[in-house]
Symmetry: C2
Subunit: 206 residues, 2 copies
């Protein structure tokens, strides 16, 4: 049995997040005030604070919703028969960037990254990192597939490899959003350079 109280709370949460997304997209993060969001959602400003702690908290909540979709999307779109690590990772990186830009602009993504860093121990940040982890695992799974198909040396630890690739991709993603005029192509090139350099540096296989 869901009590009335629980349902109302849920409704308010939904309204707050939905209205926040609309306002953030329309007016930008800075120009949207907590009061604006509260008014649009039909609650008081303090209630927004009670629910999400900070303005960035509201932002994180909506990003987390969207990112859950990204995982599904990547799980479907990431090729299972990739020939090499580079192409796999670049495909992954494209998926992440496309998805990000489709939902929020760079200025707002910078706020997201800042928020999960400063409030790294908050409930919402942990949820965010949890999703990052799942995202990295999509990559790990594909690498396992490649290893089984003999396209990757058997002595490679695919879990470590997947996480490393994810980190690299993430670093470049942050670079992508950190400047308004850095293009996806530019970032793709850099990531490709990272990967080819690293992979070619291993050398001397027996």
């Amino acid at each position: 049995m869901t009590t009335l109280r629980a349902r109302q709370k849920n409704d308010r949460r939904k309204r707050i997040v939905a209205e926040a997304k609309t306002l953030f997209r329309r007016d930008g993060y800075d120009k949207t005030t907590i009061e604006n969001i509260a008014e649009a959602a039909g609650v008081s400003g303090v209630t927004v604070h009670n629910y999400y702690g900070t303005k960035a908290g509201v932002l994180l909540a909506l990003v987390i919703e969207n990112d859950a979709l990204l995982i599904d999307k990547l799980e479907k779109s990431l090729p299972r028969d990739a020939n090499d690590i580079v192409e796999l990772t670049l495909h992954f990186a494209r998926g992440v960037m496309d998805h990000a830009i489709a939902h929020l602009d760079k200025q707002i993504w910078r706020q997201v990254i800042a928020a999960v860093t400063v409030e790294a121990n908050s409930r919402l940040s942990k949820a965010y990192f949890q999703l990052d982890h799942q995202l990295a695992y999509v990559l790990v799974q594909r690498l396992e597939g490649m290893q089984k198909a003999g396209r990757l040396p058997v002595d490679v630890d695919v879990e470590h490899l997947g996480k490393a690739l994810f980190h690299l991709q993430n670093a470049r993603f942050i670079q992508f959003i950190s400047s308004d005029d850095r293009t996806e192509d530019e970032i793709e090139t850099r990531l490709r350079n990272d990967l080819t350099a690293l992979l070619s540096a291993g050398g001397r296989r027996t």
Copy 2:
């Protein structure tokens, strides 16, 4: 000829940054107010704003000062005769973490990362990224040395490799400061795992 005005301005800058460092370290970032800093430095709060824009701006200014020292330190301490990439990078990472912790605590470093992300286009953030770039180049130089000494395949692009290694190290550094109880050893292990996985995944050299 340095005018009196220029000298006074310089003095004020120095006082603000020095007092801010003392206060941030003693009371923490959040509990230190701009007014506290201003009072300690003998100026008005608005002057601090005029000089550095934001509280985070003051923090960045002092971090930039310290990071210049880090570059010198690493340039000296990073071994020129490293046998492999892994040991070189781990040494580098240690240097960065040790230096960071020696100057400010993790909570404050989180503010630094957040600040350079949100205000990615500000003067101070650009200066910060510039130092990051120089830092990465210390690594690049060592790699060049290794390549010349025949400890690295000649077809490896050391500039790309150095930047990639730096990014990876940086990602792990951010992870290091993101939780108060993550140790340097723990991070070293993770970075080692990243590197060995990536380097072993390259394979099939002719």
